[in-house]
């Protein structure tokens, strides 16, 4: 077996932590912004809907993984769809990963530029962040997963701390009236959040490396639940603390952190979001660059994924500069009716397609004489 399908080993907890951090990153840099922009008071309901709605998708991803034990999405896509179609799908996925990495690099850089480094060109920030991601990606999945595991507790602690310390200014009545614009609007808006949660389909590329294999389902569900469990309160807090000004904040979490005043000695804790963003940014970028590299390596039967990392990093840096013109552009793109629709269709569509194709492939395999049950040959 080629080096491209080298076996990494990560634990179920590491998988869960990757899912949580991935979602929290979007939640801290993007999500409050978008939902506030569109939904204001009812954003948290959209959040709950989206996290509940994404659970079946995660289960489907886990199911697909267990139907093809020991194989990544890139491997079984070619197997069940054939090389032309499967290859095209993998390339789509690779593009999806690169675009997500590029977006992550751009959002964190914009946040920096706006909040802390007004005179630094965004290109510098993007390049540095993506470079960090490449460093991590080059070391492989295990290092990325360990890195996530190491920072998970501090990150979540910061998150909770900011919410807890700003809770003295929380006015829940600011959330009323609930469902002012009707249920339909809330559900539509939920697609934006759903699409971000839907990035969990990337896990299909990691499933064969999780030990023990049966931990995948539980880890996915735990990861999503924890992500949702942190996200929904933050939406409530943002509206409840910031009130009507929530919409106009560049970054609501940063605004929350700036609100913290504890007995005149604990102030100016906006450094903390800065720290966790940087760490989560390169982790997310590193994960996606690694995924893209592994996808390409397995598609083209390469020996080693590492030479791909830096070229892909260049691509990501470039993409993140050309895809968006400004923060406003990112916000517009990530709204429910752009990214929400696009990503939801892509995520649900491709996973559904693969599931159908797998079932069909199993059926064909069962018809063949001498082949029992169509079980895939397990790659060791």
């Amino acid at each position: 077996m080629s080096h491209g399908s080298q076996i990494w080993r990560i634990s179920g907890r590491q998988l869960a932590v990757l899912v949580v951090l991935n979602r929290l990153f979007s939640a801290t840099t993007l999500m409050p912004l978008i939902t506030s922009d569109h939904m204001g008071r009812d954003a948290w309901i959209s959040g709950i809907i989206s996290v509940v709605a994404v659970l079946p998708l995660a289960l489907l991803v886990a199911k697909l993984g267990s139907m093809h034990p020991g194989e990544t999405l890139a491997q079984y896509a070619v197997k069940v769809l054939g090389r032309p179609l499967g290859g095209a799908l993998i390339l789509l996925y690779v593009w999806f990963f690169l675009a997500l990495a590029a977006t992550a690099g751009r959002t964190v850089s914009e946040t920096y530029a706006v909040a802390f480094l007004p005179f630094t060109p965004v290109v510098v920030l993007v390049t540095v962040t993506v470079f960090l991601g490449c460093l991590a990606a080059r070391q492989g999945l295990e290092v990325v997963a360990r890195g996530a595991e190491g920072i998970a507790l501090p990150v979540m602690a910061v998150f909770v701390l900011i919410l807890a310390l700003s809770s003295d200014q929380l006015r829940l009545e600011r959330l009323q009236p609930i469902l002012e614009n009707g249920v339909g609007r809330v559900v539509t808006a939920a697609t934006g959040s759903f699409a971000l949660f839907g990035e969990v389909i990337a896990v299909a590329m990691i499933i064969p490396f999780v030990r023990p294999a049966k931990a995948v389902r539980g880890s996915l569900l735990w990861g999503l639940a924890l992500g949702g469990g942190l996200l929904v309160p933050s939406m409530i807090w943002i509206v409840g603390v910031l009130g009507p000004t929530a919409d106009s904040q560049v970054n609501p979490l940063l605004a929350l952190a700036r609100m913290v005043r504890l007995a005149n000695f604990l102030e100016r804790i906006e450094l903390l979001p800065l720290v966790i963003w940087t760490l989560m940014a390169w982790l997310k970028i590193g994960t996606y660059i690694w995924l893209a590299a592994i996808g390409l390596t397995q598609l083209f039967n390469l020996d080693d994924y590492r030479p791909l990392i830096y070229p892909l990093g260049f691509a990501v840096s470039g993409l993140s500069l050309v895809l968006y013109r400004s923060t406003a552009d990112i916000v517009r793109f990530f709204s429910a009716d752009t990214f929400g629709v696009f990503a939801t269709v892509f995520e649900v569509g491709t996973i559904g397609l693969l599931l159908l194709a797998t079932l069909a492939w199993r059926g064909v395999a069962r018809l063949k004489p001498g082949n029992q049950g169509g079980e895939a040959k397990v790659n060791e």
Binding site: S11, V128, L132, Q139, V143, G147, E149, G150, L153, T278
Partner: protein, 558 residues
């Protein structure tokens, strides 16, 4: 093994560029005496020796020639026995002056051999019988050995043993009579503790092993000694507790040690650089200590120790980052105090790494993060300073490093004087001259102190180097730069392993059961299990439920 390291490639290119002599392939292993017979000019000459001869004079000539007629080699001829026809069989003693205890040689070897003791003993009728008699009855040294090969013999004589030849027999008896001037056991200077044993390792491998053996009386304490270095032939001991350390770990360590093929081992650093996992990392991947109690603690956790003759530093592997932050005292003081000290040390590690950079970043980029009055103060102090904060920090940090280096090298008598002058000049005068601001002096001085708080001296050195890089990043990108530097460091530490153990374990990967003994130490009655590096089958280290409690039924009677 099959992986090509960049260093290896560089070495190949280098050797290809050098015309003529090329390095030969590695021999199979060095601990077999047969390998020592081959003469390899690239490692320096070694006398190619045959087996011993039966002729006493020939043997003596060979040895004298092998040592180049060195004046400190003593060859003493004596006559065996005292009566009868066999009286007058010749024997030869060979040893080095200064390496042996002369009293032992005189009393326990020469005295009985020359028949000064009363009474007829044994049979001297043939060379073989005489040899047997000497071995079993005459020599009163406990550690003896036989050999018929010159390489072994020469090694033993060089190590301080006394060789005894009998004329007419091609064997020699090697009697241990080692004794040489030695440093007394002192308190370890680099790792002192208020509470805890005061003895530290010395330069003698044997007495260092004794320190460990005295503390672990269980026979499962295993010691494997191998000889490393073609010319120095240094004894290196690999120590572990069987049934506690993983056999794979011991085998791996043994293999790495046996792979070493150099001309000499002078200090533990040589071994460390030749067996570590990532040779390019600034961080040490083996823990070094001068304290026998720390080594014993590590052995009980399932680690291995490597003792090197001539080095007071003992290497312990695998070593994690958390280990470098611990001090021996953490385990002897009350656990709350120990944990607090551990936290302080962890904090000072980060302070030593980041404090000057934070100052640079905050004063240059993020003034809004400081309270207004403080930032006004700093601004007022920096008013006349001609340099940006980065240059200011660089000047002070560099001069601090120079001072620090000088105070280590200075003779002990003038050291303090020069340091005080240096500190006064650098601190006070530089401020008054308007070169640096007083605030910067505080920051740099505190950073310097903080870097001494962590007892892992090697980690301290790494931090000292990395600090400059982080300062440059802070000067160019502010807090983002610091975070970038910290992230690079984090990624590097994540990819680092020490004998297979991830360097940041038990934090990343998170091993919850091992968290009880990291920066925060749990009380001993809670440490029922060894860390996960120990052999899985024998993880339990003590009986559970030993938390001390007052006796049931109220107060104990006095």
């Amino acid at each position: 093994v099959g992986r090509k390291l960049p260093g290896d490639i560089v070495a190949r290119i280098w050797s290809a560029l050098k015309f003529g002599r090329r390095r030969r392939g590695k021999p199979a292993g060095l601990d077999r005496p047969a390998d020592l017979q081959e003469s390899d000019p690239s490692f320096g000459p070694l006398p190619a020796g045959p087996r011993l001869w039966a002729d006493l004079d020939r043997n003596r000539d060979y040895i004298v020639e092998a040592y180049g007629g060195s004046p400190d080699l003593i060859t003493r001829e004596i006559l065996l026995g005292w009566e009868g026809a066999d009286r007058g069989r010749r024997a030869l003693l060979v040893h080095f002056d200064g390496l042996v205890d002369k009293k032992v040689v005189a009393d326990n070897i020469i005295h009985p051999l020359t028949g000064q003791t009363a009474g007829p003993h044994g049979d001297l009728s043939s060379p073989a019988k005489a040899f047997e008699t000497i071995k079993t009855r005459y020599v009163t040294v406990s550690d003896i050995q036989e050999t018929d090969e010159f390489p072994t013999l020469l090694f033993k004589v060089s190590s301080g043993d006394c060789a005894v030849f009998v004329d007419g027999l091609d064997r020699a008896l090697i009697c241990s009579a080692r004794g040489w001037p030695e440093r007394a056991v002192e308190e370890p200077p680099s790792e002192s503790a208020v509470r805890g044993p005061r003895d530290g390792f010395t330069e003698n491998l044997l007495s260092n092993l004794t320190f460990i053996r005295r503390r672990i009386k269980d026979p499962r304490l295993r010691v494997a000694v191998m000889r490393i270095g073609r010319i120095t032939q240094t004894n290196v001991a690999l120590v572990h507790v069987a049934g506690v350390a993983r056999p794979e770990l011991v085998a791996e360590a043994q293999q790495r040690l046996q792979r070493i093929d150099v001309d000499g081992i002078v200090e533990s650093g040589y071994i460390e650089e030749l067996i570590e996992d990532d040779p390019f990392s600034p961080f040490p991947q083996l823990h070094r200590t001068e304290r026998p109690d720390r080594v014993v603690g590590s052995l009980l956790e399932g680690r291995i120790a490597i003792l090197i003759d001539g080095a007071p530093m003992v290497l312990v592997a695998p070593a994690g980052f958390a280990q470098f932050l611990t001090a021996a005292e953490d385990y002897y003081e009350r656990f709350l105090i120990g944990s607090f000290l551990g936290l302080i040390r962890a904090l000072s590690f980060f302070a030593a790494l980041l404090l000057p950079s934070l100052y640079i970043a905050v004063t240059t980029f993020h003034q809004e993060l400081l309270p207004t009055s403080l930032i006004l103060n700093i601004a007022a102090q920096r008013e006349g300073i001609p340099f940006p904060a980065f240059v200011e920090a660089l000047i002070l940090e560099l001069s601090f490093d120079v001072l620090r280096e000088a105070s280590v090298r200075l003779p002990r008598l003038i050291g303090p004087t020069i340091s005080i002058v240096g500190v006064l000049v650098v601190g006070q005068a530089a401020v008054q001259a308007g070169l640096v601001s007083p605030f910067m002096v505080i920051v740099v001085a505190f950073t310097g102190i903080a870097s001494f708080a962590a007892p892992g001296f090697g980690t301290g050195l790494a931090v000292r180097v990395i600090r400059y890089a982080v300062m440059a990043l802070a000067a160019s990108l502010g807090l983002f730069g610091i975070l970038t530097g910290a992230s690079v460091l984090y990624i590097h530490l994540l990819s680092l392993r020490s004998f297979g153990l991830p360097f940041l374990a038990p934090l990343a990967p998170l091993i919850t059961s091992d968290l009880k003994d990291t920066v925060i130490r749990m009380p001993w009655w809670m440490m029922n299990h060894r860390p996960s590096i120990a052999l899985r089958a024998n993880r339990r280290r003590q009986a559970p439920g030993q938390k001390p409690q007052p006796p049931p039924g109220g107060k104990a009677k006095p």
